[in-house]
């Protein structure tokens, strides 16, 4: 069940990605309609984070291309926001909550220029949106996990983008933060923004998202939630280990084979 939409905000075509020479995503082909709240769902090691990292150009790809707003990523970077996993940074870094949120303005400010007062205002407003205004001067290591995640969300909001990629924003957060985050995501959708969220809780996924990408090394489904959330497709994603595909991946990795043959050989 892979539904392609006309005039997509994001188009991924024939994307194949290896990690340390081991293929982890095979031939992903999908399109996402504008203004949707998208859940990227799959078991551990399915390549969920890899998918959004390679869309953001953070990982080298073996084949395929990505188009955002029908353009190359480099042409539209200021309209795209990426929220890394919370554990990917060292929270003991000497910075305050406000300083981290201000980093969301760096793209707009540009290289070598200082942040302006207007940027500071936007950052403060974003901290207020996530309910952390009172913590603006708090050193980031003294925030709880949920608060740190909200700081990352505020930084993304400060980018004022149109398309957002969020890697596991619900991991390690308390129930209150989860509700607060999903509330903000819904608000963003109302403002016409598109948000893709890596998520691994099936229970809440159906309730949170209106478009679902089911992933397990290859794309199982990309469709509106009610069409993607069928017993059969979930079984295809989670059940039945992909032993054959995994073994082929291992072979490629161990034998150091190229994943794509060069043309004309």
């Amino acid at each position: 069940m892979i539904i392609q939409v006309p005039n997509p905000i994001l188009e991924v075509h024939n994307l194949t990605v290896s990690y340390h020479r081991k293929p982890v995503l095979w031939d992903i082909d999908l399109t996402i309609p504008s203004g949707s709240l998208v859940g990227i769902i799959g078991p551990n090691g399915a390549g969920k984070s890899t998918l959004i990292k390679s869309i953001m150009g953070l990982l080298p790809t073996q084949s395929g291309f990505v188009k955002i707003f029908d353009k190359e990523l480099d042409q539209v970077r200021d309209r795209v926001s990426y929220v890394p996993q919370r554990e990917s940074v060292d929270w003991d870094f000497p910075a305050s909550a406000l300083e981290v949120v201000l980093m969301g303005r760096y793209g707009k400010v540009g290289l070598f220029r200082r942040v302006r007062d207007s940027d500071r205002q936007i950052a403060l407003e974003c901290l207020r949106k996530v309910g952390l205004e009172a913590f603006q001067n708090r050193q980031i290591s003294q925030l709880s996990g949920g608060q740190q995640q909200r700081v990352f969300l505020a930084r993304a909001l400060a980018q004022k983008a149109d398309l957002y990629f969020m890697d596991e924003p619900f991991v390690g957060v308390d129930a209150a933060t989860e509700t607060a985050i999903i509330e903000i995501l819904r608000q963003m959708r109302q403002e016409g923004k598109t948000v893709l969220v890596v998520h691994h809780d099936l229970q809440s996924a159906a309730q949170y998202f209106d478009w679902i990408i089911l992933l397990n090394m290859r794309l199982v489904a990309s469709a509106p939630t009610e069409k993607a959330f069928t017993a059969e497709l979930l079984q295809a994603t989670y059940g039945g280990k992909l032993t054959l595909l995994a073994e082929i991946s291992d072979l490629v990795s161990k034998g150091d084979y190229p994943l794509r043959e060069k043309r004309g050989v």
Binding site: V89, D90, G107, V115
Partner: protein, 431 residues
């Protein structure tokens, strides 16, 4: 000269040599501390070590090619091999299964080995101009002259301006590289620039402190500064200040005791600052942490005494009568000495009154003893009712939680349990 005289004579800076050595050391102390902060935050503390060891090769090559010891030629050679060594570490790390620490060890020893090889052959070549090249191994701050100092100043100003200019960019790539890439910052080039700045700082510093101690000049001030502040800008200035102060002190020691080397003293003094910070810094220092533990232990002990007194009162419904130490010890197994000091402390704080036979609650003490007892039983009930733990497993947990639960949590706990009256062991929960 006694110490006071040396002090006065040193800080008058009348001796031109003192001026050069001190100023040179301070400039290099500040430069290396400045770039060291970013190396430290990027968890690349050993990078300075690689560069420092690789610099010797460049110095020897530059001498062989140019035939002089002109600082510009030597610096150029040093920068090239220093920079190349970092590039090699990246290559090994990215294209082999070898991890970064191993790559550092490999590259460092290969470059240093060839460097020593060349140096030895130069020394035996009979070339008179070579004298002093070995200063690069152990450093010789006392040999700094006017032209060195101008050169150091130039590099120091260059480093400071670069960091001021690229502060925002360097901060971001140190904190969150992927985010920096995602917003389109030229991360590769910024990293390259930071590497180049590190190489420059090492190349200048090495003439004073030598190959082996250079890594300390980069990292020690940064690690020390981190203990005192959570603000990156303050941290940068603090690290530079520590680097400068250690340098001045080192220069002074070798001035007052002419047989003492400057470089190692700079490093020793910087390390002394670091060690003091580990011990005495507020919040993060070892002493501060020990102090908090002692305070917690006392708080627990004091509150346990109040709780025991309350529970003694529960039996006869007589809370305010006096109790002897024997009675308290009968209720709970305290260490006698600890119990005595707890009782005295509680008297001082107004929770207890000393009577002829023993001790007696004040109203405040009674209220506090009651609250601790209540929290203990509320938590036990929470564990059995909500978390479904067996009643005989919950006591130890509650022993700790009773001291930690805040009034706000207490209120929520009561609401969640619908204002209960008895705990899982059917004992009354006080109001």
């Amino acid at each position: 000269m006694n110490l006071v005289e040396s002090f006065a004579s040193f800080f008058s800076f009348a001796d031109v040599n003192v001026r050069y050595v001190t100023l040179g050391s301070v400039l290099l102390g500040m430069s290396s501390a400045l770039v060291g902060v970013f190396a430290f935050l990027r968890k690349k503390s050993l990078v300075g070590d690689v560069v420092a060891h690789s610099v010797l090769l460049g110095v020897c090559l530059a001498f062989i090619i140019s035939g002089t010891k002109h600082p510009l030629a030597l610096t150029l050679g040093a920068s090239i091999t220093g920079w190349l060594s970092m590039y090699c570490v990246d290559l090994v790390k990215n294209y082999t299964p070898i991890k970064e620490d191993t790559a550092i060890g490999l590259v460092l020893s290969v470059f240093f080995g060839i460097g020593i090889l060349l140096l030895t052959s130069i020394q035996h070549s009979g070339n008179a101009a070579q004298a002093g090249l070995d200063n690069f191994i152990f450093g010789k701050a006392a040999a700094l002259v006017g032209s060195d100092v101008y050169f150091f100043a130039l590099i120091a100003v260059g480093l400071m301006l670069s960091v001021a200019f690229f502060f925002k960019e360097f901060t971001l790539i140190s904190f969150d590289t992927n985010f920096a890439k995602a917003i389109g910052f030229p991360v590769r080039r910024l990293e390259l620039l930071l590497t180049t700045l590190t190489v420059l700082a090492v190349v200048t510093g090495i003439q004073a402190v030598g190959v082996v101690l250079m890594a300390a000049m980069l990292i020690t001030p940064a690690a020390t500064a981190r203990f005192w502040t959570d603000n990156l800008k303050i941290m940068l200035f603090l690290a530079m200040g520590i680097g400068a102060l250690a340098s001045v002190s080192g220069a002074f020691v070798s001035f007052a005791q002419p047989n003492m080397p400057t470089g190692p003293w700079i490093v020793l003094i910087a390390s002394f600052f670091a060690l003091s910070s580990f011990l005495f810094a507020p919040r993060k220092g070892i002493l501060a942490k020990m102090f908090i533990q002692i305070r917690n232990k006392r708080q627990f002990a004091d509150e346990n005494v109040l709780k025991s007194l309350y529970q003694l009162g529960e039996n006869g419904k007589d809370f305010l009568c006096e109790r002897t130490m024997r009675e308290i010890l009968g209720r709970r197994d305290f260490d006698t000495k600890a119990l005595k000091s707890s009782l005295q402390r509680l008297c001082r704080q107004g929770y207890l009154k000393k009577t002829s036979e023993g001790w007696q609650f004040t109203t405040e003490g009674f209220e506090k003893g009651k609250r601790i007892t209540k929290l203990h039983r509320l938590w036990e009930l929470y564990l059995t009712e909500i978390l479904r733990l067996a009643p005989d497993h919950v006591h130890d947990d509650a022993e700790t939680m009773e001291h930690i639960i805040t009034p706000e949590l207490e209120k929520r706990l009561e609401e969640r349990l619908k204002f209960p009256t008895v705990d899982p062991h059917n004992t009354e929960i006080p109001k």
